[in-house]
C-alpha cells in the first residue's frame, strides 16, 4: 500500500518545520517530516546576520523590551501586520533564543569593558557592563530602535539550523529526505495530508495525517535574480492554492534586500551596515545620509532599496556589463572585525568576486530577498478556510510582517512560529474533530491523479519547453514586478503571465524521459505551479493602488489607509481559471495597540483613515490615566496573552527586569 498514516505531517525541513516537529513530538504526537533536501541544507542555513530578540544585554540594547520590539515591527510592516501576532511573537522571541542557547547555538556573547565600534562612519567606544559579561550580545540592524539582533558571527542561520536539526535527531523525528509534496489531500474543507514524490526513485506515496503543516519557505525563485536558494520556489504556497480552498495572503508583498552582490545575487548580510559599513555611489560618495538623515544606511530595508534605486536612476550608479550597481564599503570596519564577525561575507567576496572586502568595496544592488506573503492563516497557523492545514515560517502569512519585514525578524519568526504552531497543532490533535475521516479510495484517487499528470508530462510529444516558460516568467517578474511598480508594467506582466500559464498546461518534458530522478520532469511540474504563484503576486500588485512597505507604486505614491488598510487574499477555485480570485480582509484600527501613523521616512504621503485619530485618542487616554506597569497598560490596550499557549505566557527576565513568574 502506498499510504502511511501519522498524526502530523510536516512539509519542509528548515527551522520552522523542524521546530514544529520537535514541538508536536514533545506533546506526544507522531510526526513525519518531508523535505526536498537534508534539513541541514535548507535555506534557513543562509540567514547570516542574526535573530531579533529583545534581551537587552548589550549596552546598546539597554532599555529594550517587548514593547520596543513590537513598535519597530509594526512600523516596519507599514501597519500591515496583525498586531496581536506581533505581540505574541515579541513575547516568545527571547524564549526562543534562550532555548536555542540551551540546545547548543554558540551565540556571540557580551564582553565586559571597552570596545571600539563603528557608528555613523566614526569609531566610538562602547563600555559593556560587568554583570552582562557572558550573556548573549546583539548587533545593530535596520529599522530598529535598539541593538537587538543576536548572532553567531555571520553564520547565524547555519548555527541555529544545525542545533535544531541535531535536536530533531535527539527527539528521533522521522525525517524523509528528498521527498517532495506535490499535492495536498483534502475533502469537504478538511486537509488530510499530501501526495509525496520520492525525488530519487520517482515513487508516489500518500502521507495521511490529522494535521498537515507547510513550512516550505518563500517564493523568491519566481524572480530571475534572488538571494534565495534554488529550492525556494513557492511550491508550498502553490500546494495550498491548488486545493481551491486554502487562501494566500499579501502575495504582492515582496522584499528586496539592499545588498546582494552583482551579478549573481548572493546576499551580504545587513550586519555589514549594522556593524558600520556604508553605501557609496559611482563617485565614492556616501549618499544615504542625504535621503534619510536620521537612519541613513540603517533605514528599513524597503526604504534603503528604494533610495538606492532612485540614486542609480539619477545616473549615480556604477556601470557594469550586468547593469548598474552601487558599492558597499566595509573596509572601515577593519580586517580583524571582518574576519571574525563577517567571515561568510569575506568568503563570498573572495569566491564569487575575487576581491578582499577588507581592502575593496563590494558591488551590490537591491535584489529579491523575502516573501512577506504566504499561506493565509489564523494566529494559530491554521488556514482560515481549510481545516487541518497549518503553515508557519516564511511559507505562511499569519501576519507578522505586513508589507515589510525587519532584518533579523525572519529567523526569529521561523523558530517562534514553530514553537507556537506546534502547540496549536497538538491541541487540535487532542480533539475528536481531528480524527481522520477519509477513505483509502479517495486517497488513491489523489495519488492516481498525480501519477497521470506526471505521465502526461513525460509521454506527450511536442509540447512547450518548461525551461523556456520558466525563464520568461522570471524575467517578467524581474522587469515588471520589482522594487518600483506601475499600472502599465503590472498590467503587461499579468497579461504575459496569464499567457504563459495557458501555455504551461501544454508543457512536456524534453530530452529526458525517466519517471525516476529526473530534473527536467521536476522543472516541468514546478513551473506550472510557480506560474500560479507569480500571478498571485503580479495581480495583487496591480490591484493594490497604493504604496505600502515594500509595495511601491510610482503611480500611487501614497499609503492609503482609507482604502487599502487590508490584506490581499488570493485563491484559485478552479483549474480552468487563469487568474486568481482576489478578495480583501479588513484590518481593524479600533483594536490596534499602535494605530496607523507616519513611519518617519521621506515625506509623509499617508492618506489617513478616520478611525486612526479616534483610536489614537483612546490609546493616549488609557496611557495617560493609568499608573500601572507596562504590562497592565498593554493588557488594557490590546490583550493577547490568553491566545498564547500556556507554557509561553511568562514574562521575560532581563538584567533590568526581574519577575516572579508563576
Amino acid at each position: 500500500m502506498r499510504i502511511t498514516y501519522t498524526d502530523v505531517l510536516i512539509i519542509g525541513g528548515g527551522l520552522a518545520g523542524l521546530r514544529t516537529a520537535t514541538g508536536v513530538k514533545e506533546r506526544g504526537f507522531d510526526t513525519i517530516l518531508l523535505t526536498l533536501v537534508p534539513p541541514k541544507r535548507s535555506h534557513s542555513a543562509a540567514a547570516q546576520g542574526g535573530m531579533q530578540a529583545s534581551l537587552a544585554n548589550s549596552v546598546m540594547g539597554e532599555g529594550d523590551n517587548e514593547d520596543v520590539h513590537f513598535e519597530d515591527t509594526v512600523k516596519g510592516s507599514d501597519w500591515g501586520a496583525d498586531q496581536e501576532v506581533v505581540r505574541m511573537f515579541v513575547n516568545t522571541a527571547p524564549k526562543a533564543i534562550r532555548e536555542l542557547a540551551a540546545w547548543g547555538v554558540p551565540w556571540n556573547r557580551v564582553k565586559r569593558g571597552n570596545r571600539q565600534a563603528i557608528i555613523n562612519a566614526k569609531s566610538v567606544t562602547l563600555t559593556e557592563k560587568d554583570e552582562a559579561h557572558g550573556l548573549i550580545t546583539a548587533r545593530d540592524f535596520g529599522g530598529t530602535k535598539k541593538w537587538r539582533t543576536c548572532y553567531t558571527s555571520d553564520g547565524t542561520g547555519h548555527a541555529m539550523l544545525y542545533a535544531m536539526d541535531n535536536k530533531a535527531h535527539e527527539d528521533k523525528i522521522e525525517i524523509r529526505e528528498r521527498r517532495e509534496a506535490i499535492a495536498l489531500i483534502h475533502e469537504n474543507g478538511r486537509c488530510y495530508g499530501a501526495v509525496s514524490r520520492n525525488l530519487m526513485t520517482g515513487e508516489l506515496h500518500a502521507y495521511i495525517a490529522k494535521a498537515t503543516c507547510i513550512a516550505t519557505g518563500g517564493y523568491g525563485r519566481i524572480y530571475s535574480v534572488t538571494t534565495n536558494a534554488t529550492i525556494c520556489q513557492g511550491i508550498g504556497q502553490a500546494l495550498a492554492l491548488e486545493t481551491g480552498v486554502a487562501t494566500l495572503g499579501n502575495m504582492e508583498a515582496i522584499q528586496f534586500h539592499p545588498t546582494a552582490i552583482v551579478p549573481v545575487g548572493i546576499l551580504t548580510t545587513e550586519g555589514c551596515r549594522g556593524d558600520g559599513g556604508v553605501l557609496r555611489d559611482v563617485d565614492g560618495y556616501r549618499f544615504m545620509p542625504e535621503y534619510e538623515p536620521e537612519k541613513k544606511e540603517l533605514a528599513s530595508r524597503d526604504v534603503v532599496s528604494r533610495r538606492m534605486t532612485e540614486h542609480m536612476r539619477k545616473g549615480k550608479g556604477v556601470k557594469s556589463r550586468y547593469g548598474d550597481h552601487l558599492w558597499l564599503d566595509i573596509t572601515l570596519l577593519g580586517r580583524e572585525h571582518i574576519e571574525k564577525n563577517l567571515r561568510e561575507v569575506k568568503d563570498i567576496c573572495e569566491n564569487f568576486l575575487g576581491i578582499d572586502p577588507a581592502k575593496e568595496w563590494i558591488p551590490v544592488r537591491p535584489t529579491q530577498h523575502y516573501s512577506m506573503g504566504g499561506i493565509r492563516t489564523k494566529y494559530t497557523g491554521e488556514s482560515q478556510t481549510l481545516k487541518g492545514l497549518y503553515s508557519c515560517g516564511e511559507a505562511a502569512c499569519w501576519d507578522l510582517h505586513g508589507f515589510n519585514r525587519l532584518g533579523g525578524n525572519s529567523v526569529s519568526e521561523t523558530v517562534v512560529s514553530g514553537m507556537l504552531v506546534a502547540e496549536y497543532i497538538a491541541d487540535f490533535c487532542e480533539k475528536e474533530e481531528s480524527n481522520i475521516d477519509i477513505s483509502t479510495k479517495t486517497i488513491e484517487k489523489f495519488i492516481n491523479q498525480e501519477q497521470e499528470k506526471l505521465e502526461k508530462l513525460i509521454h506527450k510529444d511536442g509540447g512547450e519547453d518548461a525551461f523556456e516558460i520558466r525563464e520568461a516568467m522570471e524575467k517578467i517578474m524581474m522587469d515588471k514586478v520589482g522594487i518600483f511598480r506601475n499600472g502599465k508594467d503590472l498590467q503587461e506582466a499579468v497579461n504575459q503571465l496569464e499567457e504563459l500559464l495557458k501555455r504551461s498546461k501544454n508543457i512536456t518534458v524534453h530530452r529526458s524521459q525517466s519517471l525516476a530522478a529526473n530534473p527536467a520532469l521536476v522543472n516541468a511540474y514546478r513551473t506550472q505551479k510557480m506560474l500560479k504563484v507569480a500571478l498571485c503576486v503580479a495581480y495583487g500588485a496591480l490591484l493594490r493602488t497604493e504604496s505600502r512597505g515594500a509595495h511601491a507604486r510610482e503611480d500611487y505614491k501614497e499609503r492609503n489607509d482609507e482604502k487599502w488598510l487590508n490584506r490581499t487574499i488570493t485563491s484559485w477555485r478552479s483549474e480552468e481559471q487563469t487568474l486568481p480570485d482576489v478578495e480583501y480582509e479588513e484590518i481593524d484600527i479600533k483594536s490596534m495597540e499602535l494605530p496607523p501613523g507616519f513611519r518617519g521616512y521621506g515625506k509623509n504621503l499617508n492618506i489617513v483613515h478616520k478611525d486612526s485619530e479616534i483610536r489614537q485618542k483612546e490609546v493616549d487616554e488609557i496611557r495617560a490615566k493609568s499608573s500601572d506597569n507596562r504590562f497592565k497598560i498593554q493588557e488594557k490596550l490590546m490583550p493577547f496573552r490568553d491566545k498564547l499557549p500556556k507554557k509561553y505566557r511568562g514574562k521575560n527576565e532581563r538584567l533590568s527586569e526581574r519577575f516572579n513568574n508563576e
Partner: protein, 241 residues
C-alpha cells in the same frame, strides 16, 4: 581582452535507476562567461543540452554543502568554483563513499544522519530549560571557539579526501571527529571525557586517522581539522591509560 574560452566539461554519467545503464564519461562544450561558476555552467548544460543531467545545488553560495563533487579529481564545492580558475578541460565526478542518486547527485543526508546518531551530536543535558529567565553565561572567547568548529557544513569533502576511509568504511572521518571536538569544548554538553572516549577512542575513531590530512586540504570552510584531531587524540590517550 582575451578570447572567450569554450570549456570542455567531462562528466561521469550513470543512473543506477535505469536498467542496464553503464558508467561513462560524457563531454559537454560550454562557452565561458565572465564570473562563471560550475553552478552556472552545469545549469547551462541542463537547460540547453541535456536536461537529464543530475546534480545538486541549493544555496549556490558555498553555505549549504550540497554540491560537493570531484572537480578534476579533487573534492570541492562546485557552486563556489569559478571556471576561470580551471583549465579549458574540466572533469567532474560524483563524490565517492556516498550513495549515488545519479550522475553528480549523491545522497549525503542518510550518511550524515547515521554519523550524527552514532555520535549523538547534540547537547546532552538533563536539566530542564527555563526560557523565561536569563540564559546561562558563557565566556565570549569560548563561544567563538565553539562556533569555529560549528562551521562544518557536512559537505562530505573531508570524507572523500580521507585515506583511512578508503580502507575502513566504519571510520568516522574528520567530519565526525570535528563534531566530537566541538561538543567536548561545549560546557553545556554534560558528557564526560570517558563518554567521548567510548565514541571515538578506537580505530574507527581518532586512532584510525593516519594523519595524511587530506581532510584539511579539501575542507571548503578551512576548519582546523588537523589540530583538532591531534588535540582529541591527546585527550583520548590520557583517558585510555
Amino acid at each position: 581582452m582575451s578570447k572567450e574560452r569554450v570549456l570542455k566539461i567531462s562528466i561521469l554519467r550513470y543512473d543506477p535507476h535505469v536498467k542496464g545503464d553503464k558508467p561513462r564519461m560524457e563531454t559537454f562544450e560550454v562557452t565561458e562567461a565572465p564570473g562563471m561558476t560550475l553552478y552556472i555552467a552545469l545549469n547551462d548544460i541542463r537547460k540547453h543540452i541535456d536536461s537529464s543531467l543530475k546534480f545538486d545545488f541549493v544555496c549556490r553560495a558555498g553555505i549549504c554543502g550540497s554540491c560537493s563533487m570531484l572537480i578534476n579529481g579533487k573534492p570541492a564545492l562546485a557552486c563556489s568554483t569559478l571556471t576561470a580558475k580551471l583549465g579549458e578541460e574540466i572533469t567532474l565526478a560524483p563524490l565517492p563513499t556516498f550513495e549515488l542518486i545519479g550522475d553528480l547527485s549523491i545522497y549525503t543526508g542518510n550518511w550524515m544522519r547515521g554519523l550524527n546518531e552514532r555520535l549523538s551530536t547534540w547537547i546532552h543535558n538533563e536539566e530542564k530549560i527555563d526560557t523565561d529567565t536569563l540564559e546561562e553565561k558563557m565566556e565570549p572567547e569560548l563561544a567563538e571557539e565553539i562556533y569555529e568548529l560549528d562551521r562544518c557544513i557536512e559537505c562530505g569533502c573531508c570524507v572523500a579526501g580521507c585515506g583511512t576511509m578508503q580502507m575502513n568504511d566504519n571510520f568516522l572521518g574528520a567530519v565526525g571527529l570535528n563534531k566530537i571536538a566541538r561538543y567536548q569544548l561545549d560546557p553545556r554538553d554534560k558528557r564526560s571525557d570517558e563518554d567521548y572516549y567510548e565514541l571515538v577512542g578506537d580505530e574507527d575513531g581518532v586512532f584510525g586517522c593516519m594523519t595524511l590530512l587530506g581532510c584539511e586540504d579539501v575542507c571548503p570552510k578551512n576548519l582546523p581539522l588537523q589540530s583538532k584531531i591531534a588535540y582529541l587524540r591527546r585527550q583520548m590517550v590520557k583517558i585510555g591509560k
